[in-house]
């Protein structure tokens, strides 16, 4: 384990940024945290989490796939793949770190591999930060995530006036090598971990019961009448899907400028009226079916395909951001109650 005085964090950031692009959470013009490339003068935000999740760095909202240049009947195909360089993502919380595992199973480990996503994953080094002050909306522990032991290539703990660093992977070892860090004992972060666990024991959502859900439960919940009341006041916006670290649906569209055509992919939202619309029509004609899709995907369909793993990490963003305060916790409570 390595150690650094908090007052020297900026020196550390400069050292990392001199070698590769470094993203840190910084307060933006909306007074919320966002991952922004480090530049001298930027100060790391003390917010628990970024407004948008860390998935943006690997799976951005919009990315060009290919461009077409039209000249009469001649179509020139132009690669749109931007030059990619190694980067470091600093300050990811345990919940978002788990979300990478969930996305990897879809984009990285699957056949065929999503090369755009995979390239960023290969080039990115993830430095996680243990949560010193969880919010009441946090429920990562319900998914077996320990905010005191965040995954990633390097884990960092705040302890008194210091930060403690532990490399978890070769990529992490490589990052910490040559950085101005002091040695620390292996148990140096234990007090910080204990303090975090004392708080997580108090979290109001820590006992959220997920046992009724998981693989093989499609028939149990699909026709549940509760979907109608749960979705009744949903305004059909995409907020929950776009701030979600595990939502992974995308659409491919063309931006047609006449002579220049840009083919890009962008996040899609199952909450939208044209989600997976086909020539035969809309398979989910009302908000009830779209709403159901989102939660069935997280709690049943994804576990069906991935050894029971839920595709929610309990980050609490949807709890804080939904315009009408409907969210996965309310769905779990309502549907879960019925099965008892």
């Amino acid at each position: 384990m390595k150690k650094l005085l908090k007052t020297d964090l900026d020196t550390l950031f400069q050292a990392i940024a001199s070698r590769q692009t470094l993203y840190i959470p910084v307060e933006d013009a909306g007074k919320q945290a966002a991952f922004i490339p480090y530049a001298p003068g930027l100060v790391m935000s003390t917010a628990l989490n970024t407004a948008r999740s860390a998935k943006d760095l690997f799976f951005p909202q919009v990315e060009s796939l290919v461009n077409f240049r039209m000249d009469g009947k001649h179509i020139e195909i132009v690669s749109a793949e931007a030059e990619a360089k190694p980067f470091v993502l600093f300050g990811v919380r345990a919940c978002d770190a788990r979300s990478f595992d969930i996305l990897d199973r879809v984009f990285y480990d699957a056949e065929p591999q999503d090369t755009f996503y995979a390239r960023r994953r290969d080039l990115g080094t993830v430095v996680t930060l243990a949560c010193s002050a969880p919010e009441e909306t946090c429920f990562c522990t319900a998914f077996g995530i320990d905010p005191a032991e965040p995954a990633g290539d390097v884990s960092v703990w705040e302890s008194g006036d210091s930060c403690l660093f532990r490399a978890n992977t070769e990529k992490g070892e490589a990052l910490l090598r040559d950085l101005p860090l002091e040695d620390a004992s292996d148990g140096a972060a234990d007090a910080a971990k204990d303090a975090i666990r004392k708080i997580t024991d108090l979290l109001p959502l820590k006992d959220l019961d997920l046992t009724p859900f998981g693989a093989g439960k499609t028939q149990t919940f699909f026709d549940d009448p509760a979907w109608a009341s749960l979705s009744e006041s949903c305004v059909g916006c995409g907020t929950c899907t776009f701030v979600c670290p595990t939502c992974q649906c995308f659409d491919i569209r063309d931006f047609d400028g006449g002579k220049e055509i840009r083919r890009y992919r962008c996040w899609d939202s199952c909450m939208y009226s044209d989600f997976t619309q086909m020539s035969a029509g809309q398979p989910r004609p009302t908000q009830k079916e779209r709403f159901r899709q989102r939660f069935m995907h997280k709690l049943v369909y994804y576990p069906d395909m991935h050894e029971g793993l839920f595709s929610c990490v309990g980050c609490g963003r949807c709890l804080q951001k939904c315009p009408i305060h409907m969210n996965i916790v309310k769905v779990i409570r309502t549907l879960g109650e019925e099965t008892k």
């Binding site: 919320q32 962008c266 009226s273 009408i324 409907m326």
Partner: protein
């Protein structure tokens, strides 16, 4: 007030004055109330909550609710009532199917404001006079209720419920000195480049979740042009900076003269973009060019943009003269 409103909801269902009640449903926490339709007195008894966290504007739900069979009772705060009247003027709500209960309002708290004040892990809140007493994961905390209010309540334009069948509590009055145009004036005083930078700084964070549009009572088109793949301008994501700006500016133009300044757009924006400032700029301009007008304030006035007179000011001419609006 909470108890009286709940009793009123139960009484309306029991007496048959209403078949359904539109209100706010208890959440997981004390603050995360969800707009909901209640059909039985038992449901109301169990789940109905009215508190200083009943912020969401219910009026847009009445477009669909008033089309259904039977009568729906709705609890409307002053802001909600302006939207209610405006939607009636646009023939979007069947008034005869609504029983409107006006609810006096002294500002609705918002967790965004509470968290911005630096309070973390809030478990409960109790109002005592002007103070909010909070219990948190990190011990007790205290703050002025005023600090828990969102911008729209700090600059509340009116505490008057403008259309109701029955009023709960004493109806308030308009607040002409609310200072809601102060920030618009500050932006007007900036140079064009500074203003552009201000808006780019905000719009660049837009994730096109459409929450502002979907929650907006003035955005009541059955099919939005931005959702129609055949329109040529449908945008699932902003593919460029231009599209980021375009969506919000087009939306502001489209609701100009109909926006009641209820502030829902800014309340729901997950990226904290001050969208209400765009609409307020239009409201301010219309007030100055065509005379004071408040959308949703009454049933008779004609919106300035629907009203053409030969002596109307010509904005481009006025601005060409250097902005002298005399």
């Amino acid at each position: 007030m909470q108890g009286q409103i709940k009793e009123k909801a139960i009484a309306l269902l029991r007496s048959g004055a209403a078949d359904r009640v539109l209100g706010w449903k208890l959440g997981e926490f004390f603050y995360d109330l969800t707009p909901a339709v209640f059909r039985t007195p038992e449901e109301v008894e169990r789940d109905f909550v009215f508190s200083v966290f009943s912020g969401p504007n219910l009026s847009k739900y009445l477009i669909e609710e008033s089309k259904k069979e039977g009568r729906v009772a709705a609890f409307l705060k002053p802001c909600d009532s302006y939207s209610f009247v405006q939607l009636q003027k646009e023939h979007r709500i069947a008034r005869e199917n609504v029983y409107a209960v006006g609810v006096a309002c002294d500002g609705m708290c918002d967790m965004k404001s509470i968290r911005a004040h630096g309070v973390k892990g809030v478990l409960s809140a109790r109002q005592e006079g002007d103070k909010l007493l909070l219990e948190t994961l990190y011990g007790p905390a205290e703050m002025d209720k005023r600090d828990a209010l969102p911008e729209r309540c700090l600059h509340c334009k009116s505490k008057k419920v403008v259309d109701f069948d029955e009023m709960m509590g004493e109806n308030g009055t308009e607040c002409p000195d609310c200072g809601r145009f102060d920030e618009v004036e500050r932006l007007e005083a900036l140079s064009a480049q500074e203003r552009f930078d201000f808006w780019r700084g905000h719009f660049s964070r837009c994730i096109r979740c459409n929450a502002c549009r979907n929650v907006c009572p003035a955005c009541s088109c059955v099919k939005c042009v931005f959702d129609n793949p055949d329109s040529g301008v449908a945008q699932k994501a902003a593919a460029s900076d231009f599209e980021e700006n375009n969506f919000h500016i087009i939306r502001a133009y489209h609701v100009a003269g109909r926006c009641t300044d209820c502030g829902e757009c800014s309340r729901v924006c997950p990226e904290s973009i001050p969208l209400h400032l765009l609409n307020r700029k239009f409201i301010k301009d219309m007030n100055e060019l065509y005379g004071a007008y408040q959308a949703g304030a009454d049933f008779d006035s004609c919106p300035p943009i629907m009203d053409f007179r030969q002596d109307d000011a010509e904005p481009s001419v006025i601005y060409a003269r250097g902005g002298d609006r005399a």
